[in-house]
Symmetry: C2
Subunit: 649 residues, 2 copies
Amino acid sequence: MHDESSNQPGQSGQAAEPGNPARRNFMKTSALASLAGAAGLALAACGRNGEHAGVDGDEHEDKRRHEKGEHAAASDHVPPGQLDEYYGFWSGGQSGEVRLVGVPSMRELMRIPVFNPDFTIGWGVTNESKRVLGPNFPPGGDCHHPHMSQTDGHYDGRYIFINDKAHTRVARIRCDVMRTDRITEVPNVQAIHGLRVQRAPRTGYVFANGEFLVPAPNDGRDLEDPKKYQTMFSALDGDTMEVAWQVLVDGNLDNTEADYAGKYAISTCYNSEGGMDLPSTMQAERDWAVVFDIARIEAAVKKGDFKTIGDSKVPVLDGRHGSSFTLYIPIPKNPHGINASPDGKYVVANGKLSPTVTVMEWSRIDDWFAGKLKDPRDTVVAEPELGLGPLHTAYDGRGNGYTTLFIDSQIAKWNIADAIAAHDGKKVNYLRQKIDVAYQPGHCHTSMGETRDADGKWLVSLNKFSKDRFLPTGPLHPDNDQLIDISGETMKLVADGPVYAEPHDVILLHRRLLIDKVKKSWERDDPFFAETVAMAKRHGVNVLSDSKVIREGRKVFVYMTSAAPIFGLGSFKVKKGDEVTVVVTNIDAVEDVSHGFCIVNYGINMEISPGATASATFTADKAGVFWYYCTFFCHAMHMEMSGRMLVEA
Amino acid sequence: MHDESSNQPGQSGQAAEPGNPARRNFMKTSALASLAGAAGLALAACGRNGEHAGVDGDEHEDKRRHEKGEHAAASDHVPPGQLDEYYGFWSGGQSGEVRLVGVPSMRELMRIPVFNPDFTIGWGVTNESKRVLGPNFPPGGDCHHPHMSQTDGHYDGRYIFINDKAHTRVARIRCDVMRTDRITEVPNVQAIHGLRVQRAPRTGYVFANGEFLVPAPNDGRDLEDPKKYQTMFSALDGDTMEVAWQVLVDGNLDNTEADYAGKYAISTCYNSEGGMDLPSTMQAERDWAVVFDIARIEAAVKKGDFKTIGDSKVPVLDGRHGSSFTLYIPIPKNPHGINASPDGKYVVANGKLSPTVTVMEWSRIDDWFAGKLKDPRDTVVAEPELGLGPLHTAYDGRGNGYTTLFIDSQIAKWNIADAIAAHDGKKVNYLRQKIDVAYQPGHCHTSMGETRDADGKWLVSLNKFSKDRFLPTGPLHPDNDQLIDISGETMKLVADGPVYAEPHDVILLHRRLLIDKVKKSWERDDPFFAETVAMAKRHGVNVLSDSKVIREGRKVFVYMTSAAPIFGLGSFKVKKGDEVTVVVTNIDAVEDVSHGFCIVNYGINMEISPGATASATFTADKAGVFWYYCTFFCHAMHMEMSGRMLVEA
């Protein structure tokens, strides 16, 4: 389906020439070239990108600009000692973490363990992290969509929220310390996929899609009766991280989005058929997006117009077809991403198996809920055809959308106003440019592009395949997150970014929003370790000065300070079988002087950054001498920073 | 101790001017500036770098070159679609992983889980990974020193070996598939720190230092009698990964190294005093390096001149002072790194608390073992003074050493021949240049620098602190691995590289050594999943074509293929309490089309790259419908690639 030799429109500076490393060997052997794939399925009929009437004009425009030498690409180069201009929060996908990346350098600045045990900081080892992870936490998570809390449509620098599809959870990261502080398991549904935040008046709600259809309660009943399966849209309270309410819907849910006025959320549904296998999910030419009217839902909750399921106390409302607080808007076909434009006017659903994106106007959604429209499709103001496999759209704040075309391996830049004019029958070309990406893009994201402050400087295309863009890494390849300069009229590819699987989504925010809010050391009254400090207080221990051992029956509490290059205790003694809790407080007041505390052969490691207290509890199940040592190189005599746990037989 | 305003010699293009971001705020608040630190310890007396007689000459030479504009720095920029020239294998430190990094772009190409559970590929989840990790594997590891197998002093592309200090283990990574295939727990010692490979005739042995002194056996005896504590030097067989022999030594061991002839290994000792606390480890002005004569050790093993300890069958030889197969060479003071020069002639111990490095000549070590020398110090041919806190030395293959100065936050370039001449009393300047790094370097490594093929192009300085070199990331800061061009006469800083804690060490090898050896898909007869395929065969299942369920009592075996976008089974049914083994085989023959298999709310995720078979075993302890889905975005209909596990109550 993909012809290397075809004359592709709108490519700026990276033509698909044979031997051009920009497209090296692409698709020659790729099964993806055939959407029909192993299953022998038919694809929704749609034109090839070269066949779009509007493209030729764009090609000429691009050529003209190119000839005039307009807009040299910005650079990803950040000289030594200089700071990146943007923070990127990258989903870590199946790794279960969130990654902090500098943009434009694309350097990974920090990993933030979320759902993943991480020995580096003792995530899953320390008591402080176990309080967040909960008892019997699973071995990981599958993160997709990181989004920052907002106030009036602006990033407010408080929290990042992220989903776990693998274990039906939502987590929150504190941006002041860049650490996960809450994880909530969402009841009554299975697999949280789409996740977004309420933009106004503030976050407020965190919206979370339950993807898969399951019986309710899912306790073994109705296994073989899929007609009784169901799923829900959930709203968490971003402050308490409790689930505020859930809305039963028709069809399973994919991605979600919120408006800029604080009135609506909207989710795509890729399986309106309620199918249980692949062919049946592709029967309908149109699935839908479902809009949730928040005020009406809150009113219904207040009125008690809900039920609960099983042990859960979460109010569950019925938002299926016929409900007064939902609106089902037919969208072609198996739509995936959904993205609100930063002018606050539109929201775009991306067709996936249709070559189109569907533009809806929020004011028309107002009209529908006010009873002024008869047909849900009357909320649609444009449905531009962009190419094969449109998945997600980002915005530049100048009226343009940038849509990833998974199958075409391109990003299409298009103008919203022109698309609406074309939909109205005017003869205008809404397509501005297409640029090749390498390869198969999923999400794309623009700098500040999901807020009122969209600044149209950078776009990141998160490509699922890298093929031969990097040195071979074995059967598992990195993804390729490409950086594209969108500050001028034409998109310019700036850098390839290899990444460990699989950063579905990112957000890019200007450093001004965070740089002064991020703490460089812990404050002593931080809630993250307050429970541990309170325990010390009950033991009469001042963790800032005391290094001592307290025994309560078979429980032993070992308190010590750390200050480079010495732990407050050079040794301590316990008995085999004791339950031991070690509490270490870093009293170095110096930025960047983190300590670690590792007990050899005991599976214990904790990171203790300046000002922090960390603790771990374990059973001393092996007799002998076990050294503990500092794992963060803190001093010229770091190697000598150690001590002995003596476990009596 | 560190004066920002002082005129520091040899800095090329990055003067310590106020406000210069290259040294922004450095040391103003750093406790590291005071080596005395919290413990109030005295530092071995040593000159400031500006006081070295030889430096002025170097400064003039550097100035001359600078004025002539010689040697513009090479770039870290690798344009989109171009490949890096070097593979870097980066230790992941406390993360427990190894990272594959492209150089000069410094982009992380791939993570290789080693000691760390990793949900991305199901490391710690799949049966195949559990066979490597062993039963009851700990929650992580602390990696330090990755080294590639060699043949005749050249990298041979077979394996990477790496230590786990936290759990006294050594792991091996297969470079053809970039996956860990063996992990060995080393008996009789505690905390494997230093690790190197036998260079000739081949690897052969993997040498591993036991760092901490413990009783033997360490079962609760002699807890309070440190005089009875001991440690050992271990040699693993790189082919079988079994421990071949161990040598009891005096003092605990730090780093290790091997010669180019295959005759010796040598380890530094930072605690010849056998101290149990910090002050006592600093009593002696000289500690030592201990040399191991491999042929004599092998002969002793053959002769049966060894004992065994406890349950371990590993031969333990006595190599303490007086042994015929060890040589203790006094080295000032608490020496840390030890590095053999690529000409095969010298080995350099780095003084840490002494401003010197100690150069020993292998041929003189030959002489000593042949009885031709009386004083072990006669093996020393130079002891150049370089600056404060020398930790590790790397080589350019042109006769120069590059030594990290932890306390000075610099790298000193010096000439080996000139240092030897100076030691002989000649008035020569061995110092070539010092360059500031940011900040506190530990290891440094040059391209191909630990082989006969040292090519003197790149040096990476692994700095423990980044302070304010990057956007704030919270109390925990990234390390900063800086890339330095050493291809010309003067070192040039090219890039800052933020990294997640804590890559102690790296190796850099030219891509020509690996690019054709790395497999882009799995071969069906790969040993990594051979046991799983054999199980299928016993069940009469052809994993490449069969998707079926086999029940044996309460054990259920679920075999299915995966081919984008469909699993071979759309659903399967088990009973609550069954032990379920799911085996998935990726029959997509297409490079980069990896699949994932995740069961929601069951803690299961596996990566199945092209050609692979992966399996996981778990108890179906919850009744209900549980969807499984593909976690690696593989196709336009990836979202629809799912199925149901029906668990009957």
